[in-house]
Amino acid sequence: MGAPGQPAGHTRHMHVTREHLVGISGDLTALTAPEARDLLVRRQISATELAHAVLGQIERTESQVRSFITVTADEALAQARAADVALGGSDPGATPPLTGIPVALKDLFCTTGVQTTAGSRILEGFIPPYDATVVARLRAAGAVFVGKANMDEFAMGSSTENSGYHPTHNPWDVSRVPGGSSGGSAAAVSAGQAILSLGTDTGGSIRQPASLCSVTGLKPTYGRVSRYGVVAFASSLDQVGPFSIGVEGSAMVLQAIAGADPMDATTAPFAVPDYRSTIRDGVKGLRIGVPAEYFTAGMEPDVERLVREAIQTLTSLGATVHPVSLPYSEHGLATYYIIAPAEASSNLSRYNGIKYGLAALDEVDMTRAMDATRQRGFGNEPKRRIMLGTYALSSGYYDAYYRKAQQVRTLIKADFDNAFASVDVIASPVSPTVAFKMGARTDDPLAMYLSDVCTIPVNVAGLPGISVPCGFDHQGLPVGLQLIGKAFDEATLFRAAFAYEEATSFHRQRPPLAEQADSEASVNQAAMGAGNAAGGPQRAPHA
């Protein structure tokens, strides 16, 4: 049966059928979002089947990965059944674009009736009576929510080890971290526990775990996506974005969540372009800037090699490369670690046990109860940042720290403005290293902070950035390429990233634990690979 209402451009690359997938291996968890959409609309699979597949994958792999704080299996199946009703109508192609597609939500997004912890014990038991705007928009787009993904407490961290609940493990090597703070969201997509997921990125919290887990992750322009209902870490830096296997899934999610929100005064009033309509336009003539400052001394050689190879691939597709200079970016980390803790110290002061979450009820005095709640509820990293931020804002220190940081912020932005006068995108590594061993940096906050040295300036400047898989190091651990765009020019990032992934196949490689245990898993991979421009089956290098 045909796919009425499907624009031809969106289905051109679709060669996957139910026979390939369900008939041969049954592994629906390897689907990309556009593939799942195509099969759902053509009724080759049902949303309920897809939900069962993903929930089964969670059941099978969660003890090793631990991506979730809460799994909402019952809700997911109910949403999937509703999606099947919609898809069973006369015009399934007219259903909302994410109908029946399983999505994991970072536990930072408020979800009506479902516990939202921000990864902190201080919010344990908090059940919001409202949806974050992005959650409401995904709901309206038909998404099926499989659970609330683990994260560093209040999004403070780069390894998901700072979770108040449990650490998440990297699906590629469970002895290593998945990155953070959206580590649960990245690991879930990587392990096939969800087709798509949503995270937030304040200093790299989407791009860095995307890089470490070999998935696509986008941090949109500040103001592109509403922050309403997103538990705030650093209000002037936080931004919501997607994770996906393949670039197109991220474009589908951004399409659904982007745009002005009357509930968030910092959202931009600009219209949202149709991202998928230009995603296949290629990179011929695209000017790529390469900043020397982002290939730092502490960078692992494999990371630098793979990122430079990726840039080479883009030039082979018709892009041109130009050196650019971003000299103030070296102050990005220092700037960030003034502004973000300052805003956090204020944002986190509402958690005092009076209204929701943990409450030190054994204390009789009101002020003592508030203090005790905070002492018990916050982990070390939030406490560290509250103290840093409080200090930076204190009378007598404000000018030397907060005001100075805002001034440097302006200079970092100006650097990018200068660079973008002559290039369309800027390419760099995402993280200077591959996924590190769990516990390796937990006692060294500064080493942990350095994980985000290449991503932080992008937040400080409010620009969009995307991480796309660009290969594996000598140990078989994933590496990501970062592409940074002009403000509100996510369309160009999608176009460049898509051209790159069409020319490669890294995004198709799955971590071994994501593969179904049966022998047909490789057959499935072959089927998947058959639809890929690069061709040929893809296996994890160290499998």
Partner: protein, 495 residues
């Protein structure tokens, strides 16, 4: 040196008293400052006018209420302030259970307005005005309310009502230009009157819609720098503001006279004991750690927008008072009374327009209408006697249709029933008899039946005429036109 004075013996005038007032006024808006909840919390059951935003729930964000911003700028314009093109909101960080987010959204270094002034009646020189500087008028949000309870078993706890949290609150910061407690009272009355004229606040102190903190310090006469400042809070009436300042003046003077030092601190007024007590020392003062509110973009107010708002300003009390005195030839006292509220002034002017008799309108209003308002406790726009009624009454008098004697009865009836005076006069037959024929008979009867009075009149006794007029009025049951009666009596007696 101040330390050489003897305690208790030196008059307070040895020191100059320096007073600056900070007024908080709730802004009248439909919805709260940063969310869609109703701001009309008075009388609402606790915690019914709340949403994630004003509850400070995780992830909630503020969205600015444009009406509150405009009300603030209009107030600032009425207080002769400058309106900068660029302003912003800031976070004022402190922890208290009634502060839902752990910070208050306020304005720190770039408020909506600055550098204005206000004129108020000089209590020391009746009829003269004094001027005080206005530092700034800015906008912030109100807090929740806490109620501390001790139940019958002796257990104590606190109840919180979040209805008030997020209600827009305007802060009017005055320069330290006031020198006596009475000046402070007069200044406050002027501020309240302007807020009410503008309709931006009910400015009712007993409802908490109008609050005042006083900064009080003393310095030796002629000294340029200010003395240590004491901030006095918790006054719940104009009278308690005046009393608290008076108390603080004496307290500080006694300390200085005894050779002591004034401690910079915050003190609370305890009304039933009529004293101030220490609340917080300077050392324990909050460091509010202000920084720009990242959730709200800065506010740009172009000059054209300022002029648009300025054009919305009504005539203010001072200007109205002057115009009334000049245009209607009334004393400044009467003008003052008639301009107490914008509604009363409008009532007066409507009555004048309809009756064409400003003097009568002023008399009736200052005497009778205000008495009615006083006894009933009603507002001017709540009584049945409208300007049309009053103008009708004045016209009945001016055309001689009724006499001065019957007018109070007609007024009373109009107040009670809302009937037009003309109809009341008709229904009750209260119209004055101006029919010469009818009166001529009554006059002749009076002359005939009062020979002694006639004789007295002819003998030159002035009171006799009054007696005869009285007799005619009695015969006509008070409806005789007194002028006509007089005239007819003279004709018949002298003719």
């Amino acid at each position: 040196m101040t330390g050489t004075h003897h305690a208790g013996t030196s008059p307070a005038t040895d020191y100059e008293v320096v007073i600056g007032l900070e007024v908080h006024a709730q802004v009248v808006t439909e919805s709260k400052m940063f969310c869609g909840c109703s701001s009309r919390y008075s009388g609402a059951p606790p915690n019914t006018l709340v949403c994630p935003v004003c509850l400070g729930m995780p992830g909630s964000l503020p969205v600015m209420n444009r009406t509150a911003v405009e009300a603030t700028i209009i107030t600032a314009l009425a207080l002769n302030c400058e309106i900068p093109e660029f302003s912003k909101f800031d976070r004022k960080n402190y922890n208290y259970p009634d502060l839902m987010k752990g910070y208050q959204i306020s304005q720190f270094d770039l408020p909506f307005s600055q550098a204005g002034w206000l004129e108020f009646d000089d209590p020391a020189n009746p009829g003269q005005m004094r001027r005080a500087g206005i530092t700034r008028v800015h906008l912030e949000e109100d807090t929740a309310t806490l109620k501390h309870v001790r139940d019958s078993s002796g257990e104590t706890y606190s109840l919180m009502d979040v209805n008030r949290a997020g209600v827009p609150l305007m802060e009017i910061v005055g320069d330290p230009d006031l020198r006596t407690a009475d000046e402070a009272g007069s200044y406050l009355r002027a501020v309240r009157q302007i807020l009410r004229y503008l309709g931006v606040s009910t400015a009712n102190m007993d409802e908490g819609a109008f609050r005042c903190d006083a900064n009080v310090s003393l310095r030796p006469w002629g000294q340029a720098e200010y003395g240590a400042k004491v901030e006095v809070k918790n006054m719940n009436s104009f009278r308690s503001v005046v009393r608290a300042i008076e108390f603080e003046m004496v307290r500080q003077r006694d300390i200085l006279d005894a050779g002591g030092r004034i401690v910079q601190e915050t003190r609370g007024w305890v009304d039933d004991r009529a004293i101030t007590v220490t609340q917080r020392s300077k050392e324990a003062a909050h460091d509010y750690r202000y920084f720009p509110e990242p959730d709200l973009p800065p506010i740009i107010t172009p000059a054209a927008e300022v002029e648009r708002l300025r054009s919305l300003l009504p005539e203010l009390p001072d200007a109205k008072r002057h115009r009334f005195a000049n245009a209607y030839g009334m004393t400044s006292d009467v003008a003052d009374t008639l301009t107490q509220t914008r509604a009363l002034a409008e009532y007066f002017e409507q009555t004048v327009n309809l009756s064409d008799n400003a003097r009568a309108a002023a008399n009736w209003i200052t005497r009778d209408v205000l008495r009615i308002l006083g006894t009933t406790g009603a507002e001017i726009d709540q009584i049945l006697l409208t300007p049309a009624h009053l103008a009708d009454l004045i016209k009945l008098l001016d055309t001689g249709t009724i006499s001065v004697r019957t007018a109070p009865e007609v007024l009373e009836e109009a107040v009670n029933t809302g009937s037009m005076p003309r109809e009341i006069v008709q229904q009750r037959g209260l119209g004055q008899v101006s029919d010469t024929d009818a009166l001529t008979t009554a006059v002749a009867d009076a002359i005939a039946s009062n020979p002694k009075a006639v004789a007295d009149y002819r003998a030159g006794k002035a009171t006799a005429m009054g007696f005869l007029v009285g007799a005619v009025m009695k015969a006509t049951r008070g409806k005789g036109n007194p002028g006509l009666v007089n005239e007819l009596l003279k004709q018949q007696l002298d003719g």
